[in-house]
């Protein structure tokens, strides 16, 4: 016999899945369109009406994009800049976050607000003086310069996010390690760090994607050493439509793959953290 409540529960589940489906479609449909076009032969871009399943799978468009002048070096530049940004943000941001999480010092709250105010200055306004400064320092048109600006953009998030991660690692765990023979550094490395790792990985992904997608500063601060977004932006107007789709797909894909790969790590690292 069926319980009366079971029907209601089932319809509730149906509603939940329905909403999830709609949300997923909202996000996935544009991605699908871009991927679809990028993986079709070039003429398919102009085809109308579109089929929902590509009738011919082809890497032509992507190969065309990758082979076009400057794309490969721009990609390498982008990866380089993103990696430097990731390392710098974590190396500077994680200790700052740790300090905010663990120590009570005068001006702590003010400091937190100050970190955020760095984001109050639009990058548009900062870019020109930065370009001038970088020219004076002989850093203009280098990957380092772009990575420095991206680090500046990512740091507030890196600090606040890692700070909240370290807050969630109970202080007593580190104290227990101290009583069991660790010095402060060992306690951090052996206890706080492994527990914070999932969160730190998330912060790392975030900075990577932020740098990978940043276009404005990269465009202003480079001339020949373009990052991918800067390069695509520069040549966008004189590019054929297949090139644009392929470029879009190529820029989205790494971020998606990265998150997919690390997602499992994020969710089941220790099962769950015990309080």
């Amino acid at each position: 016999m069926r319980q009366p409540g079971s029907l209601r529960r089932r319809s509730g589940r149906l509603l939940l899945y329905g909403l999830a489906l709609i949300l997923s479609a909202w996000v996935l449909f544009p991605l699908f369109l871009i991927a679809f076009t990028a993986l079709s032969p070039r003429p398919a871009v102009y085809a109308w009406p579109k089929t929902l399943v590509p009738d011919t799978f082809s890497l032509d468009t992507l190969v065309f994009f990758l082979n076009s002048h400057g794309v490969l070096s721009a990609t390498l530049n982008s990866i380089g800049v993103a990696l430097i940004t990731l390392v710098l943000s974590l190396v500077i941001g994680a200790p700052a976050g740790y300090a905010l999480a663990r120590f009570v010092f005068p001006g702590r709250e003010t400091f937190k607000v100050l970190i955020l105010t760095t984001r109050a200055f639009p990058i548009v306004i900062l870019s020109i003086p930065l370009a001038v400064t970088f020219i004076q320092w002989n850093l203009y048109d280098t990957l380092i310069a772009v990575a420095l600006v991206h680090t500046a953009l990512a740091l507030p998030f890196a600090i606040l996010v890692t700070g909240s991660i370290f807050v969630s690692v109970p202080k007593e765990l580190e104290e227990a390690a101290l009583t069991l023979g660790c010095n402060r550094l060992q306690a951090f490395v052996r206890v706080a760090l492994p527990l914070a790792l999932p969160g730190l990985a998330a912060a790392a992904i975030f900075t990577f994607v932020l740098s990978w997608n940043e276009v404005f500063a990269a465009t202003i601060l480079t001339l020949r050493n373009r990052t991918l977004p800067a390069h695509v932006l520069t040549v966008l107007n004189e590019s054929p439509l297949p090139f644009r789709f392929a470029g879009g797909f190529f820029m989205i894909a790494p971020a998606l793959v990265f998150i997919f790969v690390i997602r499992r790590y994020l969710l089941n690292l220790w099962g769950r953290v015990v309080k």
């Binding site: 109970p170 007593e172 104290e175 227990a176 069991l180 660790c182 527990l195 015990v274």
Partner: protein, 378 residues
């Protein structure tokens, strides 16, 4: 092997004085309980001994060596935290082995010692699990095993039982006592639970407002509290305090409680302890435990009349809440008092009772200072 000596330890957080000039010596292998209400500074004092807090003033010595400036790892201590603080990313085995691994002990020794400690705490079959996969009580055992596997000279425990449910706490309390008798480390145990303190400690140090008020054996703290606070904090129900006035009668100093003289069982006015002449006309507080008051349903010589407010059957005994009466219906200006009687004591709320105080068990207190009047000295 390890005597702990605290000399004038003082610790403030901003404007709050957490530990106020505490001097205390814990003998080798002694089990001392720091007991006090929350916020009395007992945990801070423990953390000073552990090296997790640095005192503003004062010195801490363990086994004759000044460790005040040493980090926790150089003090030969182990600590059990209130939250257990087991490492969620390590298995139970690696949790217990953590300290030995830090000492870079050979694998054989680690394995053998971890298994011995796990056996003592009956967690031998959980060693491969992660803390998230064991119960709260088991996690608590892991925390204790992790501490004792280090064979510390000093074992520090910060309310280790307070997160367990009542039944488990009772069971674990007895087990802890057996275990600690076995390992014989000098132990400082922090709790706000007076029953735990009475049942576990060789000695109880009662703390209030950052200072140690009394430090004695459990029985002595119970029977002879140094202050009104200690008498009220320890024991369930807390000690009764009756207001009495010292008067002259028949050429001797006697105590009057609400107009009635305190009398012996024979009905004679009981003389106040010698040396009370100086306090003639003053009030004193008579501290007396619930079990040292006999309740009678009929008037007997020397008994104080009282009226029952509440009767609480507690299985093994009855707990009565009463007020003293000057005469029928006229209440004495005094707080209610608690009396225990046998479970079969026939009583209904409201009817009058007569109370016999056991004179030898009365603890005399000064109402101004709240301190016990030291009879030996006067």
């Amino acid at each position: 092997m390890a005597e702990i000596r605290l000399q004038g330890v003082h610790k403030t957080f901003g404007k709050v004085t957490a530990v106020n000039n505490v001097t205390l010596t814990v003998r080798d292998q002694e089990f001392i309980v720091l007991l006090g209400p929350s916020g009395c500074g007992k945990t801070t004092l423990l953390r000073c001994v552990a090296g997790l807090e640095y005192p503003d003033r004062g010195r801490i010595a363990i086994d004759g060596q000044d460790v005040t400036d040493r980090p926790p790892r150089q003090r030969r201590i182990a600590m059990v935290f209130q939250s257990y603080a087991v490492f969620p990313h390590l298995t139970v085995f690696e949790n217990v082995a953590f300290g030995l691994r830090m000492q870079k002990r050979p694998d054989d020794e680690v394995k053998q010692r971890v298994q011995a400690a796990a056996g003592l705490l009956q967690i031998g079959d959980l060693l491969d699990r992660y803390p998230a996969q064991v119960s709260g009580g088991q996690r608590q055992r892991v925390a204790v095993a992790r501490a004792i596997v280090m064979e510390p000279a000093v074992l520090l425990m910060d309310e280790p039982l307070s997160n367990l449910d009542a039944l488990l706490r009772l069971q674990m309390r007895a087990e802890l006592k057996r275990l600690l008798q076995e390992i014989r480390a000098t132990t400082i145990y922090v709790t706000h639970d007076q029953v735990e303190a009475l049942s576990l400690g060789d000695r109880i140090a009662v703390m209030k407002d950052g200072a140690i008020i009394q430090s004695d054996t459990p029985l002595k703290v119970y029977d002879e509290p140094a202050t009104v606070f200690v008498g009220g904090f320890i024991g369930n129900p807390p000690m009764n305090f009756l207001k009495g006035t010292l008067q002259m009668a028949d050429g001797q100093v006697v105590v009057s409680i609400g107009g009635q003289f305190l009398r012996s069982a024979q009905g004679q006015a009981l003389a106040a302890p010698p040396g009370f002449q100086a306090r003639l006309g003053n009030t004193v507080l008579l501290g007396i435990r619930a079990e040292n008051i006999q309740a009678r349903t009929e008037p007997v010589p020397g008994a104080l009349p009282a009226r029952v407010l509440v009767v609480e059957p507690l299985g093994s005994h009855l707990l009565l809440t009463l007020v003293l009466e000057r005469s029928e219906g006229v209440q004495v200006d005094s707080e209610s008092l608690k009396v225990t009687t046998g479970a079969d004591f026939a009583v209904e709320p409201q009817p009058p009772l007569w109370l016999l105080l056991e004179p030898a068990k009365i603890r005399w207190m000064d109402p101004q200072s709240g301190r016990a009047i030291n009879l030996e000295r006067v």
